[in-house]
């Protein structure tokens, strides 16, 4: 099985790797680029733990082949904080204790960031529907939804 050379942009930096064409983008991020923030929960697009954006579109990286990322822009959880400064969503997840085991958290954060970029002032219902493809078995979701709404308010410079 010959591998293919893929050149792509990950979190603003050019990245290249050799991929078996059957490997998913998630496999390539984790195994070839060492970006292990994106998690594999189900591998079938149900749980959202592998969420990344591809040319700005929120996708499950387990449902994208690594070779499909050629020439595209990939944004992962590793690109979310600015150095040591956490993104408001990350800060609010900690403040609200919106995580326990943390396995689903990178996916929730990437998905929530994509929501707030499109809709800076979502309703609770909009947050819940947008995040319906991210599964969490610890929190019961309520703290996650509160954290996202609070982060949105924070980013709009309002008190929630």
């Amino acid at each position: 099985m010959s591998k293919m050379h893929v050149t792509t942009t990950v979190n603003g930096d050019e990245a290249e790797f050799l991929a078996d064409p059957r490997e998913t983008l998630l496999d390539c991020l984790r195994d070839h680029l060492g970006l292990t923030g994106s998690k594999e929960g189900c591998g079938t697009g149900d749980c959202g733990a592998c969420s990344v954006t591809l040319d700005g579109e929120l996708v499950c990286s387990c449902l994208v082949l690594g070779v499909e990322a050629a020439g595209k822009r990939v944004e992962t959880i590793e690109g979310m904080a600015n150095g040591n400064e956490l993104h408001p969503l990350q800060r609010k997840f900690i403040e609200h204790a919106a995580l326990q085991c943390g396995f689903c958290t990178p996916g929730f954060l990437v998905a929530a960031k994509a929501l707030l970029e499109r809709n800076p002032d979502p309703t609770e219902t909009e947050v819940r529907y947008w995040l319906a493809g991210n599964l969490c078995r610890c929190t019961g979701y309520d703290k996650i939804v509160r954290a996202v709404l609070d982060a949105a308010a924070d980013m709009r410079k309002e008190a929630a």
């Binding site: 099985m1 293919m4 064409p21 059957r22 998913t24 591998g43 079938t44 697009g45 149900d46 959202g48 969420s51 591809l54 579109e57 929120l58 996708v59 499950c60 387990c62 449902l63 994208v64 082949l65 070779v67 499909e68 998905a111 994509a114 929501l115 529907y129 947008w130 995040l131 319906a132 493809g133 991210n134």
Partner: protein, 286 residues
Amino acid sequence: MRYHTPSSFDDAARLAAEASGVTRFLAGGTDVLVQMRAGAVLPDDLIDLKKIPGVTEIAQTGDGGWKIGVAVSGARLGAHEALVRDWPGVVEGMELVGSTQVQGRATLTGNLCNGSPAADSVPGLVAAGASVEITAPGGRRIVPVEDIPAGPGKTTLAAGEVISAILLPPRGAGGGDAYLRFIPRTEMDIAVVGCAVNLRVDGGRITEARVALGAVSPRIELVPACAEAIIGTSLDDAALDALAGAASAACNPIDDKRGTVEFRTEVAGVLAKRAARIAYARANGD
């Protein structure tokens, strides 16, 4: 596995026709990658259609209809205001497929070619009178959407044939469509029953109608008896009851823990009524 990125549908069709092993076309990949991972389908040749010019475009055709590229995602479909205005039922069916993440990739064409009897986007296309452009090594032909499903996981497409676009007819005056499905929860589930209604009104009376049912038989089907039940009426209670009866009579569903035969048969009638009311209101501009 060989991964191909043809730059035209003619090349894609030729690659598929010349391939001897298991071949799959890749659009959004939300079904194909799951099948590959499960080992259910291990392609020898995977033909990615996304490098073909125009596949992510939604274009109005000369007659006022629409041509939708095979790689247009659900998210892109839902963001196209003019298309949503013309065919809200088609778009709302597609938008019910999967999560936000899946919407970023999944396509109408892929949902059709996956061949699921419960595909949420297909009844809306059938009711709308949509067709597909098929490219084969010999040339192109246009086929109604309802002729593509051939039973669970199967289509009527032959080896070397690839869908190269979805075509929606011009909406015209007094038209409205709607799609409803029943699921046991509020999001992220597979239809137990799906029903799409597309109709045209003139002075409050229905002059044309097409009704399609999903998840209640091995194929998503157009049900002419449902259309006949409401054409010529102003969707009064008698017409709605006749519609519901025709929808239930057309059911030949599976029986499983998500919905018994009796339940699916009854719900098909209920959804037909409700979808018809929505389509009728949209047609009247309400």
